[in-house]
Subunit: 367 residues, 2 copies
């Protein structure tokens, strides 16, 4: 691995001082912001995440704030998901599509206040898309990126840690539920969500100045729980089938191809961006689909580019995330597979940088 | 410095194999793509750039291609610069502004074919902005990111190297002129431009498969010239006053504040995004302006965040890029300075992470 050069353009976060004090070893850059990826080692961080509790600086999940009387009307045309059931106590995962039905982002939508919504984004400047649509259509909204930085608490002991800092009532929050909980005299918006399947929360920290006091409180309260700093863990996320925008899907892919069909409401296809393309795909069936893929042999190299999938002498897809899984003792992977080969147990070949490997389609992810 | 984790999301380029073979030590991430920043050391790369010739993988300067009968009409509303004089033989630096006159990007515009334009972007997903505006207004255009990756040739011996690979005629290309030149049976679009003031070219490599053959040819022909791999060099760019979007300016800044007033045509302000705000700023005068700043003392630490500028007990601006200059034997910096303090020789204090430093506004950059 090469080094990452420092510059203001690759933004620090409200928690960067804490991340550095915890011995950060590697970052990625996400929404032009530092995202910690490794503290001890990817493998050690993985074991710890599955056993204890970690605090994650996921500030890079920036918020596109849409505020005003037309806010929900604007957001509804961005996504094929029906938003009529959104409430301040429920967040929603919403595929965002362009005019061709290609994925522009796969954010989580929250209602943070009256006529105020946060689109908590994956790695693409969705602010530009939303702002342009607002500007061109005369919607009564303000579109901005507020000073809000999510802090993740992930792992099986997350409830125990959060209850100590925010009170016992937080244990009652259900999955993708959200509410406000008090710490240090401020009510933080908190959702039971996060980018692992080990359980946990995301705290939407409003105001940079509130970041480090909360960070310190979590580490102090978490000492008996062996709390550590962590970040989205490659091994755990592939085992769990958590898609990564830019890795496993891009604007070349539709939500249906990404396995997100349950978030595509036919009632919205007449009005949302890309609705016509999605309706056609629903009628004809998707040409390819996201699949869990098991790759034979010893540990695969780092997957820093798409690896072609072959069967019968033809390319039938590509692997976009792959890693050795210590718990499942196999190489776990995520990829797009053509229809003729996407059934479980379909045997395919992956062209890795170190040569071809036998692989097969699985009927589900591992976690 | 921490490491940069590999993933498909942080994209490799057509030249990554060559960059790795040349011993890359550090990258930054720019438009979600790897941008080499250091081979030997920032200082050694700097001396070499000023004396010889370097090949730069600047693929991350992605192209937003706008193609169709309305292409120029669409691009004209994106920028306050008058584009009526664009020709296939001239590229133009165009500030792109949002509805409030804030900078969204500072790209170079090229006409790459009939009714086909490339907006060669700095570090923001301008594709989203342009695509949304096209989609909302029914312009007859296709907006896309083509497989085009710029390769820079920079340094005083650039003409000698380029003449060997593309023929002697390339020496006649004037600054910001562009034309097509043949190599290996393909006519490459080449501009006399680049992100240094040491002279050079940018080759817009169309098609990933054409990348490495050209890379190898440049290194082979350049052997007697001591050609090396390089990249935008922090020291040289600050000495030269080359602004970096995301570092020295963001959407919080207008083109006028960035010293780009000569690219703001009053004739365009009635129709371009943010025209009203820019007209008001022209009438009232800008509140702050980009300035060259000299910082006293020994080598400053890496500038990975904005450093406040103080005078008379008040904040009067911020430094956003800073480094020790071996040639000028001082710390050179770029910052925004409030009107009352922006005159040359104005004495100010910079709050660096290692303490306050005396500094002063300069009447120009160093190179």
């Amino acid at each position: 691995m090469a080094l990452l050069s420092p510059s203001r353009r690759v933004r620090r976060t409200p928690f960067s001082d804490g991340v550095e004090a915890q011995g950060i070893k590697a970052y990625t850059v996400y929404n032009r912001m530092m995202l910690p990826t490794m503290f001890a080692s990817v493998e050690e961080d993985y074991y710890h995440l599955k056993q204890a509790v970690q605090v994650w600086d996921v500030s890079c999940e920036r918020q596109v704030q849409v505020q005003g009387s037309d806010a929900l009307r604007l957001i509804q045309i961005l996504t094929p998901r029906d938003l009529s059931k959104i409430t301040p106590n429920r967040c929603m995962y919403i595929p965002v599509t362009d005019q061709n039905g290609g994925m522009l982002n796969d954010p989580v939508l929250l209602q943070s206040g009256p006529e105020t919504y946060w689109i908590s984004i994956a790695d693409s400047d969705l602010l530009m898309w939303v702002n342009a649509i607002a500007a061109c259509n005369g919607f009564d909204v303000e579109v901005s990126e507020p000073d809000v930085s999510p802090l993740g608490v992930q792992g099986p002991k997350s409830d125990d840690l959060m209850a100590q800092v925010f009170g016992e009532k937080i244990r009652d929050l259900r999955f993708f539920g959200c509410d406000r909980f008090e710490f240090g005299g401020f009510d933080f918006l908190i959702a039971r969500s996060g980018y692992s399947k080990q359980g946990g929360f995301e705290i939407y920290v409003e105001g940079t100045e509130r970041g480090m006091p909360l960070w310190h409180a979590l580490f102090e309260a978490g000492q008996p729980l062996d709390v550590r700093a962590g970040g989205p863990n490659l091994i755990e996320r592939v085992e769990s089938g958590l898609l990564s925008y830019g890795n496993d899907m891009t604007s070349d892919n539709s939500p249906l191809e990404c396995g997100l069909g349950k978030f595509v409401s036919t009632s919205q296809l007449a009005t949302c961006f890309g609705g016509r393309a999605m309706r056609e795909e629903l009628e004809t069936g998707s040409a390819q689909m996201i699949r869990a893929i098991e790759i034979d042999g010893n540990s695969v190299p780092g997957c820093d580019r798409a690896w072609p999938l072959h069967a019968g002498g033809e390319q039938v897809g590509q692997v976009t995330s792959a890693t050795w899984s210590p718990d499942f003792k196999t190489n776990v992977a995520i990829g797009m597979v053509a229809r003729a080969h996407w059934d479980a147990d379909s045997e395919i070949t992956v062209e890795t940088p170190t040569g071809p490997r036998a692989a097969r389609v699985c009927d589900g992810f591992w976690n």
